[in-house]
Subunit: 342 residues, 2 copies
């Protein structure tokens, strides 16, 4: 009997961490979903349309100056963002908010920091027209694209049922369809969610537990570890005015509702280790510091240094396989192509 008791106790000691680990995984699986291996493409998204979108995404002629392409601010080689507080746009203008990553943006339930675009196609129409970004107009974009013989042919193939396929909306559609391919599956965290318990190390598991315990995952959950819903930046207490300047009330400007003051769309945390600086102002460059700020102003919690570090280690596990994109060869100007205007 005695040896049986000892064996049982030993078995419990051994099983303890394993059970706890299973419990951690089970909790995580309730709150997050792994990124699908394949990007979610509509059936209209033919290979031709994706390829056209790839060209447009990298084509600086969509901007009036001829300098700025989508990839300038949403660099597919740099976590889908540009590593600046706010982007430099037409005439060296400083953009109003930090450029969000294009990677996995297809899984966000709305686009822009204030969610004013319901999807990528609507989003793509914004920067082309914004005075401080590409500073063009739908008319000019169509004039440019329809003057380029290579593009005329490619729009025809990408939108085969349309008689006049070179439209601003179709350009945005093709860009959106390409952007939808820019997903980053197979991060360590995705492998963990799928049952590979070794995909996270002990420190990252500790961080994951804290991420759920402290309440981070109540906003940053689901397939995109965020990317849906709006919350006031400063739920628990007002952030430093440098991080949340008074002039930008976020969602309230879209909804015209006082209740949305300083609300912003919850950003995805996928690949967050690649997308410094953080927040809509881009004022925080250090990820651990950003974690601390969030805990403080959103959750009213002061994290120990060890806790902030563990959560940061977990966030590094959200870096997935980055898209491999061949730089497109852009079709040359036609004789009527409007000239760039710096």
């Amino acid at each position: 009997m005695r040896s049986f008791a000892i064996l049982t106790a030993a078995a419990c000691l051994l099983a303890g961490p394993a059970l706890a680990a299973d419990a951690l995984l089970q909790r995580a699986q309730e709150q997050f979903k792994p990124l699908p291996a394949k990007a979610p493409l509509a059936k209209e998204a033919s290979a031709q349309r994706v390829d056209l979108g790839r060209k447009l995404f990298f084509d600086p002629r969509l901007s009036t100056s001829g300098l700025i392409s989508c990839n300038s601010c949403h660099n597919v080689g740099a976590g889908g963002a540009d590593g600046m507080e706010t982007s430099i746009g037409h005439g060296w203008a400083k953009g109003p908010r930090n450029a969000p990553t294009v990677l996995n943006a297809v899984y966000n339930t709305s686009q822009f920091w204030d969610g004013r675009a319901p999807d990528l196609k609507a989003q793509a129409q914004g920067p082309m027209q914004a005075l401080v970004e590409m500073n063009s107009t739908p008319d000019r974009v169509v004039k440019v694209l329809s003057s380029i013989p290579g593009y005329k042919a490619e729009f025809q193939q990408a939108f085969p049922k349309e008689k006049n396929p070179v439209t601003f909306e179709n350009a945005a559609d093709a860009i959106a369809v390409f952007e939808a391919t820019l997903t980053t599956p197979d991060s360590p965290f995705d492998r963990y969610l799928k049952g590979d318990s070794k995909a996270l190390d002990a420190r990252q598991k500790q961080g994951l537990a804290l991420f759920m315990d402290k309440g981070c995952s109540s906003c940053h959950g689901g397939v995109n570890v965020g990317g849906d819903g709006f919350h006031k930046f400063g739920l628990a207490k007002d952030p430093d005015v440098a991080l949340r300047p008074e002039g930008d009330t976020g969602r309230a400007k879209v909804s015209q509702s006082e209740a949305d003051s300083y609300a912003f769309r919850v950003p995805t945390l996928r690949n967050v280790a690649l997308t410094a600086p953080y927040f809509h102002t881009g004022k925080v460059w250090d990820l651990k510091q950003a974690v601390r700020v969030m805990a403080d102003v959103q959750l009213g919690q002061s994290l120990s240094d060890d806790e902030a570090e563990a959560i940061t280690a977990f966030l590094h596990s959200l870096t997935g396989k980055q898209p491999q994109v061949m730089l497109p060869q852009l079709p040359p100007n036609g004789s009527e192509t409007p000239l760039p205007q710096p």
Copy 2:
């Protein structure tokens, strides 16, 4: 006898164009060389060094603002140039001269419009420091690169014999080695030079003959159809002042010799159909118009419309296979990386 004579005459009639065609090919082979299928890489140019160079070429952090990379002005997806009169640089500055193509630049005997750099490695050091381009300094570049953990490791692999490999010179060396891979072999003209008489159509052959007859090939010859030597822009007569403004005397500023006034390096004509606008001022957008200007001010010849068109058709045969370049994934900042300064 009679039938023999007829047969002989018929044979001569048939052979006539063939002989003329052979003569054209033979003349062309004396004046031009096909582009080698393989880029000319030094033995130090390991795969690691090329790959590091590819990353640096696309990394906007080499500029102080964080916006401008080598590829901004030498877009590998746009004929290796930027489709602007002169480039937009730091602070929205307008560059002094049209950005020359990076494609096949390795075959030029010197770099820049005034040839002030003997090779690509020397060239690459210019734009990083130019106030109106990337506006950085060697110190800042080294500070940035050595602060990025991914780069530190890659410099070590690319320059394995060096103790402190993260230097400004090595960054330029890696960029140059990558640029040397950006060649465009197998253009129709290259296939023609190698003996495929059908690679050029009749119009292009007419243009080729004119290109040699009129004297274009006396400067635009060799493997790069140009790219070596300096000649006064305006040999036969002064160009319009818009094309050759008085302030920029070209080579003379480098050589300090009056004799070099308004001399510029002869540009390569490879891929010239992709690299509008033309001349050091970038003031001419139409290739046929550029051909006319050249004939007029360099050779003192007035081309008929048909001649200018034929030469333009020939120039289109210089468009080769464009480099297929995978957009690199850039290593993320380290904690000490200097912040971009717009």
